[in-house]
Symmetry: C2
Subunit: 166 residues, 2 copies
């Protein structure tokens, strides 16, 4: 496999994968492209390489910046904006974990807490409360795991964890 083939395959694969994760294809491909780019790229470069429209590029670049996965660079003497990706993959993972925790875990915890306040008068209500309590535990685990990723500034604890389960 040549480098160009590998590059295409990488960008394509990342895009396909991301859609299973609720991230749209353009955003994922954009991220993939910037991840493997040795230099920062201008919007034009991106539009051309991925064959997407200006609007699409603009919106997804912004979303990626919101996620903290890419940065804007201003080159002296250049009017255009350039973009480059965060290359420390663990930092990327931390960033994603942090965002997903905020967007997905936190709201569920709130709803579960609300729901566990109903009176346990009927069998249905009791079953319901059991399920809610169980889900609370699982969500707690997910939360802890994401926190582990987020807080692992050093790789030591992570390494310990991996050793135990491998």
């Amino acid at each position: 496999m040549t480098f160009d083939e590998a590059k295409d395959k990488f960008i394509h694969t990342w895009g396909t994968l991301a859609s299973q994760w609720g991230i749209n294809r353009s955003m994922a491909q954009l991220h993939a492209l910037l991840l493997i780019a040795p230099e920062s790229l201008a919007t034009e470069d991106i539009m051309e390489q991925l064959q997407i429209s200006r609007g699409n590029a603009s919106m997804n670049l912004r979303d990626l910046m919101d996620w903290g996965l890419i940065y804007k660079q201003l080159k002296p003497g250049e009017r255009r904006e350039f973009f480059y990706a965060e290359k420390d993959i663990w930092k990327v993972a931390r960033q994603v974990a942090k965002e997903r925790r905020r967007r997905e875990i936190t709201p569920v915890v709130e709803v579960l807490n609300e729901l566990k306040a109903i009176p346990p008068d009927t069998p249905e209500a009791q079953e319901f409360l059991r399920v809610i309590a169980g889900l609370g535990n699982v969500v707690g685990f997910a939360d802890s795991t994401l926190n582990a990723v987020i807080k692992a500034e050093e790789n030591w604890l992570m390494g310990q964890f991996l050793k135990v389960f491998r």
Copy 2:
């Protein structure tokens, strides 16, 4: 909040959440409904409670069975099929972890292995290989984490892990 309100809110919330996870609303709501049902339900019950069509119910029930999250029950003297959910939430989590690992992690590992075989002749290729190697580590971590969930028949190790990071 009354039980009925709580039930509706739970089903609705679960459905909304799931769509961020690439699972469709009907499937998630169906699962939520069965999770909190104290008795197994017939297709008709489900159609009525969730206001969905017969075809929709049929397809999503099958998908949930494929995921190992619900079971079919045949009641003596009844011609209709009944469905009930796996109520052990940790088992549900394990099942989901197992499926996602199979569907998402395994293919990525294969592609990454393919890609890391390119010759490191240019700076671009070298950067690419660095990124691929880094992603390999992150994916390895995700894999280990899912394995931890999958293999944790007992809660002991899980508890240890949580203690360390909490």
